[in-house]
């Protein structure tokens, strides 16, 4: 292309002595570039040959949606944290704080409900594919874990929003007493 045409064979002969070294480097460069091109072509074409491996990739997985809900919920709890700190720094009145906190808790409860729905949906979809043995193994502890009153496998901590097993007394993430609060949580969700 531009500027490359001017070089003729005659020019090549006129080169300075140290050009020998440079030519050697150029050869090396050509080998590298050739190898890389072959590698890159293989790398680019390869996925096209493995069509079936990618088909499921395109539709959004329930895990993605779950993750998104999780991050939304975390965001709400982070905001509540900030509000609590604002309150203790005296930037917010107690009254405002309570109003705001209730609003945010409701929002978080909404996300959690959605997540629970999705979880149970996922469970019903994925169950038939599992082998009987696997199912058996999973079922047994589940029976234990299931919350007596709600039939849920897990509950959410009301102070930090992290998920915890239904029978646990304290939140694994923040240490809040779940036993006392889980009742409130259940009430609120209902």
């Amino acid at each position: 292309m531009a500027g490359k045409g001017e070089k003729t064979d005659a020019d090549r002969f006129k080169k300075e002595p140290n050009d020998f070294e440079q030519q050697e480097h150029t050869m090396l460069g050509y080998i590298i570039i050739f190898g890389l091109v072959i590698g890159a072509c293989y790398w680019v074409i390869n996925p096209l040959l493995r069509e079936e491996d990618f088909q499921k990739d395109y539709t959004s997985q329930p895990e993605d949606i779950l993750e998104k809900l999780e991050s939304k919920k975390d965001g709400v709890y982070a905001t509540i944290k900030e509000l609590e700190f604002d309150l203790s720094m005296g930037k917010l009145s107690e009254e405002d704080f309570q109003i705001l906190k209730r609003q945010y808790l409701q929002e978080a409860a909404g996300y959690m409900e959605e997540m629970d729905k999705l979880e149970s949906l996922k469970a019903t979809v994925s169950q038939p594919t599992k082998s009987d043995l696997e199912e058996e193994i999973e079922q047994e502890p589940t029976a234990h874990r299931t919350h007596e009153s709600t039939g849920k496998k897990h509950i959410y901590c009301t102070s930090c929003g992290k998920r915890a097993a239904a029978e646990s007394r304290f939140c694994g993430a923040c240490g809040a007493n779940l036993h006392k609060r889980s009742k409130n949580n259940v009430q609120e969700e209902n």
Binding site: K4, Q22, I33, V44, R50, D53, D64, M89
Partner: protein, 645 residues
Amino acid sequence: MTEIGYYSILISLFFSFYCGLALILGIKNRRAEVIASAENAALAVPVFLTLSAAALIYALVTRDFQIEYVARYTSRSLSLIYTLAAFYAGQEGSLLFWSWILSLFTAIVIFQNKKKNRELMPQVLLVLVAVTFFFIFLMTFATNPFKTLNYRPFDGQGLNPLLQNPGMIFHPPALLIGYVGFTVPFAFAMAALITGKLGSTWIKTTRKWTLTAWAFLTAGNLLGMEWAYVELGWGGYWAWDPVENASFIPWILATAYLHSVMIQEKRDMLKVWNIVLIIFTFLMTIFGTFITRSGLIASVHSFGESTLGWFFLFFLLLALVGSFTLLFFRLPHLKSRNQLDSLLSRESSFLINNLLFVGIAFTVLWGTLFPIISEAVRGTKLTVGPPFYNAVVAPVGLALLLLTGICPIIAWRKTTLKKFAGKLGFPLILSGFGAAGLYLYGIRSLYALVTFIFCIFVAVNLFMEFYTGTRTRHAVFAERYPKAFWKLVIKNKRRYGGHIVHFGVVLIFMAFAGSVFNIQKQVSLKKGESFKIKNYTLRFDALSTYPTASKQKVVATLTVMNDEHPVGIVSPEKNLYLGLNQPTTEVAIHTNYKEDLYVILAGYDKDLATFKILVNPLVVWLWIGGGVMVIGAIVVVLPERRKGV
């Protein structure tokens, strides 16, 4: 090596073209394997551009003068570090640098989102690869960095002496990385528009990209100011030169964007506004490049006139029309769910902040384009000077500074007037005392006085934020004060990192206000004669001339006394580089925390020398403030540790 470099560019052009094509087909037919193939192609592009960059560096270091670029920007006597810096000294090299960095960023985006944002990624990649393609296309068809000469010169022309300054090593890459970095949030915004997934996901995903790019742009601008200050020798650091403006406008818009995204994240408002801001930030990075390449507007930075400007103009218009068409179609989906709860809320103060930032950006853009507009309308090229910019930017900047102080006191949603007033009391009292003190000290300039008062007010407010926060943690979590302070910052990096950035801003404003008291004098001295400026006495001792490998050096030596205390020797220089007619000036600067003594050797005769001497108060705080801003930005982008209180 010429061929290797050029072929690598061609190959990367091919792969980026293939990538774009495969993405379009893959998106249209919903074929994941085609998109995966495109992703791999996008990963191949940086490999070949790296090879190309390596070839250029090899050519520069081995002084392969057959390559025009090497002959134009290096010479045998050029030191290694500036030889490497010559990579981005010229147009072709800087375009290679640009596309190289962009392709690397694209690869990082791909790796970061292997498992995330799968529904956005094809479109994100499409935008990124389209921009990359444009830059590679320019190198292949308009300005090839590996263009060869049909003869081999014995020596190159060498790097412009003004560029042989440590500034050259850091300023251009920092600025370019900043520019390129904004392509990533722009690509995500466009992808959000194309896919209709208009929530805050794209903003959250690109938050760190935006901040990092912003930090680089901040550092780049400040390094440029420092460079201009020590190298150009007119005594200042900012002249509202079109290219300075071109890097200032995206910075201002990005700063506005950094603030306004918080409202979308917290309150789901300002969706359209955020997209518009990021579009314009991106466009302005291209606009800056357009200005430097087109020769349309005269500037110290110009690369000389070239046809390249038209390519950039075309690209700019294409991006403008494309992005706004998309925005227009999605407008119905971008309605906000929330409204402002109260005028006295953090949201509304952010809103005012944004309007002010955009006001500055628009003013500076208008001033920069004014020569073109006036020529088109009235037939004569009129340039607007610093007074125009200062008249608008200074007061608006002060208003922004004031907001920096007020904003943290106001809570989200609403603050009662009583609470607000209660918080305001202490900082106001301190500012009042500060004002009285400064007045008694002898400061009478209204502008400086107002700026200093605002600085005190903001600094006190920021201090109170850290102070009450630490105390609260101490009380609530029973932590010792140092630990409480540390945890306060670490647990809420975004807020307190932001406060650190704002503290840097306060220092910078202080330095700006100091410039009101700049003193400048010109004097001709015979050897042994003394001269007094402010509290400094300078005695002209000697003038020596000697040649070095690349230049003829003329050095004047002056002994400096500060109120009868000797503080040292300053030696301003004039250098005559071989092959250049114009002598360059090497200023001598004596710095302390109060002021800079800035000495320029303006002219010389046998034993008579003319000096331009300036005393610039508080300049050092500009550089310190810049450092603090960058540190604050680093605190904000520090990775989050997962578990926590």
